[in-house]
Symmetry: C2
Subunit: 626 residues, 2 copies
Amino acid sequence: MASADAMSPKITVELLRQLRQAMKNSKYITEPIQAYIVPSGDAHQSEYIAPCDCRREFICGFNGSAGTAIVTEQHAALWTDGRYFLQASQQMDTNWTLMKMGLKETPSQEDWLISVLPENSRVGVDPWIIAADQWKNMWKALSGAGHSLVAVQDNLIDAIWEDRPPRPSTKLIALGLKYTGLTWQDKVTALRGKMAERRISWFVVTALDEIAWLFNLRGSDIQYNPVFFAYAIIGISSIKLFVDSKRLLEPAVREHLELDSPSKPDLTVHCFPYESVYTELQAVCAALAPKEKIWICDKASCALTQVIPKAHRSAIPYTPLCLAKAVKNPTEIQGMKMAHIKDAVALCELFAWLEKEIPKGTVTEISVADKAEELRSQQKDFVGLSFPTISSVGPNGAIIHYRPLPETNRTLSLNEVYLIDSGAQYLDGTTDVTRTMHFGTPSDYEKECFTYVLKGHIAVSAAVFPSGTKGHLLDSFARASLWDAGLDYLHGTGHGVGCFLNVHEGPCGISYKTFADEPLEAGMIVSDEPGYYEDGSFGIRLENVVLVIPAKTKYNYRNRGSLTFEPLTLVPIQLKMINTELLTQKERDWVNDYHRKCRETIGAELERQGRKVALDWLIRETEPIV
Amino acid sequence: MASADAMSPKITVELLRQLRQAMKNSKYITEPIQAYIVPSGDAHQSEYIAPCDCRREFICGFNGSAGTAIVTEQHAALWTDGRYFLQASQQMDTNWTLMKMGLKETPSQEDWLISVLPENSRVGVDPWIIAADQWKNMWKALSGAGHSLVAVQDNLIDAIWEDRPPRPSTKLIALGLKYTGLTWQDKVTALRGKMAERRISWFVVTALDEIAWLFNLRGSDIQYNPVFFAYAIIGISSIKLFVDSKRLLEPAVREHLELDSPSKPDLTVHCFPYESVYTELQAVCAALAPKEKIWICDKASCALTQVIPKAHRSAIPYTPLCLAKAVKNPTEIQGMKMAHIKDAVALCELFAWLEKEIPKGTVTEISVADKAEELRSQQKDFVGLSFPTISSVGPNGAIIHYRPLPETNRTLSLNEVYLIDSGAQYLDGTTDVTRTMHFGTPSDYEKECFTYVLKGHIAVSAAVFPSGTKGHLLDSFARASLWDAGLDYLHGTGHGVGCFLNVHEGPCGISYKTFADEPLEAGMIVSDEPGYYEDGSFGIRLENVVLVIPAKTKYNYRNRGSLTFEPLTLVPIQLKMINTELLTQKERDWVNDYHRKCRETIGAELERQGRKVALDWLIRETEPIV
């Protein structure tokens, strides 16, 4: 996604001049605004966004995944976090001030605005791009200081963006029962059951992965995420889908949605243009009876949220679809298992190839990433990558969100640790796996750190915990061995993973940072990825995708039942990196059990695919340890 | 504290009639109110309260530590939690409806009020008893439904309470440097430093333990808590103390506070009657310059909070005194160590005595509690108990907040598990210790459960973690072994402990429930008390008070430093209850190390005090395990 000249600053003098004119232009606003906020999201609060939504990058040049730009008549400033300080400072010209979030001296956006604005200023923002909860906080702070926050309906960046790419409208794929396990009609019916329980009349669906999951449809509007731009409004007896109508011409899609011959009136999909969601929601609200309620996620756009009168609005942190989607059904679980087997085949092939190629001195971070994609694409039902591959050698491995670029690209050698964090989308599932390897002789210190990370990985993977436990209560298990040695890592331990959907999804995860996560349930799928990063030297991370399953325990306190994890990722953990003396017998048993499973399951598939070299590599790498 | 007839219901017909009359009496309110809320706290939001503040008990009969009564023209209802369902139902007559908090079908106080009140009702509450944050929530809910929440300045319970006990005004003790390590003048100066940092002009101190700590004074107004009724308002150059003036006649107190010859004008204590805090705070507020700010805890009373105009108010979740008090200085740490040595002497004596007495069949839960108090009272600087002793045999042990009453009192035997959770106040420190023992032969299951609890206790006690870690991140360590077997306990793992102050104090703790706790710091003191409770059979809990200390680690990631715990409690853990096969070598080493420390430290003191029988017991109970 990053362009080749990502590291030279974008010249923004003229753009800023145009934006500041737009801020005073009565074509867009009745009264001039003194500041304009450019958040980094799209109208669906997506983590990854389409090129047409990269407005913050357009105005300031910085293309990292997180950041907010604010332009006033005098100033232009960008807020981003520690991952991106260097990158942002290289990509922005001197018109911009970098606001380093997390540093004590850095003011919040609100405080900064209040400090630089003249009295009674008007601050504008596109209400489609800002989430309702963020709007509320900003509104409070500004109005407390005598300013006002103004919803500017026309996006002012779009107004000055001459060659703005069009909104993607890719071909839709209809997924059959074989992949989904549930028809979209059954999903709608289940959703309505939850709505009826809470006496909710309508539910406004704004998250793209929730819409894709609900209708068993996929698209490719956003790179790495098989979603498509749409909204849905689900009523107790009506379904409204908002999507570019051209996409519905495809016979397979028409048939899937029963557009031409609906089976039941309350399961008839009424299609509307993507843009008409606002007016349709207004119409829905106008027809509400006094006590009727509408569900909307509190992270939905301010624009749509505010259409719903407060008395009718029920804002929820996680929607019922987010929760339903997180608990995978047996078909989805089977699909995720198949996807992980195929993915492991590609990685075994890759690692066997690396062993032969690295000594030649021609393998680079980028060429491994390309090779990995090539090998994955040979697997059945491959669709694409699930996120940009992190392929990093030596010191680059210590940059947690590293992506190899031509100017940083290092050659793999026998002397440095290599970390690869990669994954793919298959029609039957999504993968995300990290392995850390050494192709020469690792140092004692590298092995020691790797082993602590492995101990943390096992502690989570083998943990048994009561049903109803939230993932954040498991986070410290992953760190205990590192902590004992005075080490740690500064990221969470795991995130939810979609099934042929987004590689990061809510509402569950394993992190010290979030306490608003939902309890883990059997059928949920999360990653388990502790790490250790030695700045300037090497990075270690060990990531499996794991499935939450019921655990058999000796006792069953208050009949609550217990849970544990089953690894879906079945790729060997490099034995050479382990200091086995640091492992307990239980941990050694876990490693041997895991490798036995890798050998059996992946070995059979490698055999079936006739991949002899990779099979030999697998067998050697899964020898039991003592 | 519980009266002997605690389990027969209080007859409340006449009281309710009187209260309902008061709710319409223009002597107290300008317009009648349709409901009156009686919370259980005092004006300082104390956990333990004085008899004169037991208003909720007075009106409904229920004397548990948590509960809120609400009386309307037609109804009377009491909300309490699962610990107290049985007790509340036994103590209240049929005029009262028990609202079981935590059950799905139980409405919240707000929802219930809205469902039973006529339109536009007025709900009254004493603004001194309700905390500002609770007032805010109740106010929002009621005004959203068209009702109003009214601050009734005269407490209506006091108005009908004929023989209400007077507010205690016990003798104050001035603590010298030998106990406190810091003069009150130095504490005030340090506090002013923090106020200056945040540009705060005044700080209103409402928590009784904060006032006691700040002025190095103690009282005995509330049982178990060495505090006294007072307020303080600390300015950048002025000190206002609000306390019953009779208490300041004592020469030692006058000298301690330098009342007759203040050394410096800004360290002069200006004394006011306890009741005049309201008018004095009004005077302070009236004299404020436009940008001046006043600190007040968001848990302070609504009455005092609302005196401060919003523009001048800075409400904080933890006050700087709460934080300063939590980090014990070297003198306090030394005092806490001494207190724990004396406490251990008393307990060794008790347990040696129990071994001889139990076979006679005359020892009961109550008699052990009395004996423990007697033995503690023989120790130097003993002041009283730090909380009501939990002394429980067999099934009573499974009731987590059990206190022996004549009608529940069981005899100790050789066949049942015995749990004692007790502690004392000494001039030099506060103790809180739980031991679980069997004086005959424990069953394999009892030993197994005990050993899991021990493993959890050790996992926390021996944990090494980075500076800045919050206590809740350690909670799962205490549970992992129980979880593995399908077991758990339904309470937190630890709470902060004061130094000759409240046995429960903020802002730190170890619990899955709180995420608003402050990070652990060297010098903080918390309890480590996992348990297991088998309903109807037995209870197990193992509690030490532990001190947070710096840990030496092999590495020091980002120079953050590491922390661990040092047990202050030095009482043997009964070896007979341990299934040593379930312990790892590290855990066996921990037990042996701990017992070696108990033998050395407590043995020396037993020897010094000439307590031969207890010494023999200690030596036998601290034999190394293999």
